[in-house]
Subunit: 517 residues, 2 copies
């Protein structure tokens, strides 16, 4: 047994001083969004990204993109100089890129608490929870359809987690509310239970308009016209297609100067070629077209280039995440966005696993760490994602949130101050002793390391005595504690009243089922 | 529910063509060691590494390193120009670095199967399993002391795993063999049950000499004098101390031109300061002194700069892994070694977890991915590590091995060939269709993606029908299958006889307990 194995024992006895002092545990403090102090990592060579960019332009010019069931988009493209045949839009080489010159390199999404405003672009990184799953799971009740109560719970967890900077959108779909009216309850919940920034549901142009109207009620019409207060996530229908609903929502958001995220959902081998370089050309072509459209609608409106990447299992046809191909595509997306001069969304804590086990953690970590190192600005699905996005997991949510806090420390870079260099401590301790009780350790232990809320570091004997719990079982306690300790940020009664009144009016006229486009 | 969540369903139905073709599953092929085709990632600024380097020289010159109970090391240091007071060796600024100029930038460790030779340094990365744990665990029998049979099993698993390129050393300690004789059975097992390269136990100078003698029996005296055929892992006793046993072993290996790995085991807050920059200065000072000694003993002898890094939990005094501080130190170690011009060992698949759960996977992934991206050359503890190195886990071993195969794909970089660009496929498929059945997918699906041996990608319904197994439970089946299918590489009966004869001779004279130095 070497020193490396012995180390697990060696320090335990001597840590008493530090342990005693650490007993008074700190309360978790909400962190501001990240400003990365790490170098930008370009995993692809300049030659490689230039090939991908050239291929994207070839796709736009020669194959084109279908803009389906939205004559207004076709009209706008024709006016902008594209070749429009039926619903197929072929964009001359360089046109989309030229149109994108008006898009801001960075922008702020305002929250109702200004301290929670977040910035997208440059060295900013914002963590946001999972969005969209119809199912929910926890260790007590198992896998089931999500409800409005579940959504409220997840909004409260995201509000409370130190390193979740943005509430995201529809953390779980409240399936107990009719689909045609659901977006109202979802938007209200985000505005009501957290004062962080959030997304808005863009499933249809009508939903998008309702979300913008609710934002105007909360922030005031003129403020909203000049500032982004919500983000709308616009998925293309890869390959090379946008549908009328998403196009209508995109135009609605852009026209009101609200942020759009243009995101192809490409699983290599299914919605894209079986190779990463092929998928990236397709993703770049689709995002160039979608982002350019926002600038045609309203030059200067804020837009984020996104990718949602994975690969399809050649055995089962199911999505896979955390694989080398996905890692490469996350790095490539951020690199391409930097060259375009727009903020970037990619990555997250994605996985295929049905439960919050080792598979879930390996896959999520191999998505999240590349996301941070790549310099992604908006990290959607950063907490809670299970089963390829069909399920929001309570335990997975708090496990991921713990990892996010670690990523935030990592992003801060190595402390090279005098305190960080610790030469005084090295001199004080000298050879053959230990640092557990030295002055430098005593002075810095409170802030020295990230303290995981999930990991167990006790001895095997202690861990056994406490019931041999897995990380998933410990996480079950953590989310319950967080919900019990949730602090309601409150909402001005007049604003609350206005939102509830608007919802009631809209619900009276909307159908239960989603309008078809 | 957005496209991103819908994707989990969308592709499943359409994958039939690809699925059918994939049914004939490939046999796992043993992979050569990695030549990285990724850019070198320097996480620290030049300014920051220069500060760490200057601090290391200050430590060497002003504080010094204790070389305990080894008068020969003190004599060698005095002759080389160091200031030796008692057992304290103060090394003038720049001397250690100057002595290291004779160390090779890259070197090969020869295996008895030349196809399994591995190279250390430059763009090479070699994965090697966990070493040193006294305990072993699996789902059937639980946690218990390791035996010789367990060691044989782990050697066979490492021999069979596609992306484990080197057998490492003492994957588990065979506690059923007396400590004073154990090293013989361990060395024999590595030479007998795999034709991959391996380490040699350096617990004492006598053990090191026995290992070298066994290597000479296997490879021939003159070959061993000119070629490294084993590596010895030399741990310092941080802070700033080497003990007589390890020093004797270091001198033994260096004198015989065998590879040494000089590795401080530093948990920040215990054997090093509570800060990463402080630990790195200490690690660099210790490794500079240890590596320089190998060059004083035999200029040109192969040596690797190592770090084994973690942080001590300020709550329990136990080791923690996969934290931001450790990630920073892995990147820093590789960066410092590159500047020194020596190969580097760091990282691995380290964790504190008692079981192969989500904690184990998060921590291991957050150690392993930085290790690869940092450009580490030798990745010890890359598979099987549990509970801070006290336990080798069967399930953890095959789960990690699966991750290693993914890292090997990632290290290959993005395929930018015509096949990788896939423009033909994008043209063929066009907008609004899918790539599952297209010619390009059919031609490439076999080699397209890494196929995980552990991950489950089936639907929730299918997964439930099959017993709702966790990754750990699936891994239990995988290692049993691997052991059942292990192919014995055999060993020339005359060589086998010679090794067994030597062991019997040595066992007749060695005490059951380990000699004291």
């Amino acid at each position: 047994m070497g020193e490396e194995n012995r180390s697990a024992h060696a320090s335990r006895g001597g840590a008493r001083e530090a342990r005693r002092a650490a007993r008074a545990q700190r309360k978790a403090v909400k962190l501001p969004y990240i400003r990365r102090r790490l170098p930008v990592i370009d995993l692809l060579s300049t030659e490689a990204v230039e090939v991908i960019e050239a291929n994207a332009e070839t796709i736009l010019e020669e194959i084109g993109i279908e803009f389906r069931r939205d004559p207004e988009s076709l009209r706008l493209w024709r006016e902008a100089g594209a070749d429009v045949q039926g619903e197929r839009v072929r964009v001359p080489r360089g046109l989309a890129r030229a149109l994108l010159k008006t898009a801001p390199r960075e922008f702020t999404v305002h929250a109702r608490n200004p301290e929670r405003n977040v910035r997208f672009g440059g060295d900013a990184t914002v963590f946001s929870p999972v969005g969209g799953p119809p199912f929910v799971t926890d260790l007590d009740r198992g896998r089931r359809y999500g409800t409005l109560e579940d959504l409220h719970n997840f909004i409260k967890l995201a509000h409370s987690a130190p390193a979740i900077h943005f509430s995201g959108g529809s953390t779980v779909e409240p399936m107990d509310i009719p689909a045609g009216k659901r977006h109202l309850d979802v938007q209200y919940a985000f505005f009501r239970y957290s004062d962080q920034g959030c997304e808005a549901t863009p499933e249809t142009p009508g939903h998008a308009a309702d979300a913008v109207r609710m934002a105007e009620l909360l922030f005031g019409d003129s403020f909203v016209d000049q500032h982004a207060v919500v983000l709308g996530n616009i998925n293309s229908n890869s390959p090379l297609t946008y549908d009328g609903r998403m196009l209508g929502a995109l135009r609605e958001f852009a026209a009101h100067n609200q942020g759009t995220i243009v995101v192809p959902a490409v699983l290599a081998g299914a919605m894209g070629p079986v190779t990463a370089a092929g998928c990236m050309a397709e993703i770049l072509a689709e995002t160039l077209a979608g982002m350019a459209l926002t600038q045609i609608v309203r030059p200067g409106s804020p837009v984020i280039m996104g990718s949602f990447v994975g690969a399809v299992s050649m055995r089962t046809g199911s999505p896979t995440f955390g694989t080398p191909e996905a890692t490469q595509m996350i790095f490539a997306t951020a690199q391409l966005a930097r060259r375009l001069g727009v903020p970037c969304r990619s990555g997250g804590s994605l996985c295929s696993s049905k439960v919050a086990d080792a598979q879930a953690a390996y896959e999520s970590a191999h998505t999240l760490l590349p996301t941070l190192l790549a310099g992604v600005n908006l990290v959607t699905h950063a907490a809670g994602w299970l089963e390829g996005g069909l399920v929001s997991g309570y335990e997975k949510f708090v496990m991921d949130a713990d990892q996010l806090a670690m990523m935030q420390v990592l992003a801060g870079g190595m402390d090279m101050s005098e305190r960080g260099q610790a030469m005084g401590a090295i001199r004080e301790v000298g050879p053959g002793s230990h640092f557990l009780g030295c002055a430098h350790t005593q002075e810095n232990f409170e802030t020295a390391f990230h303290q995981s809320t999930i990991a167990d570091y006790s001895s095997y004997e202690q861990w056994s005595l406490e019931g041999s719990l897995t990380a998933e079982q410990r996480a079950n306690r953590v989310w319950k504690k967080m919900l019990a300790e949730y602090e309601d940020p409150g909402l001005d009664p007049a604003l609350d009243e206005a939102l509830l009144h608007f919802m009631a009016e809209r619900k009276a006229v909307l159908l239960d089922s989603v309008e078809e486009d």
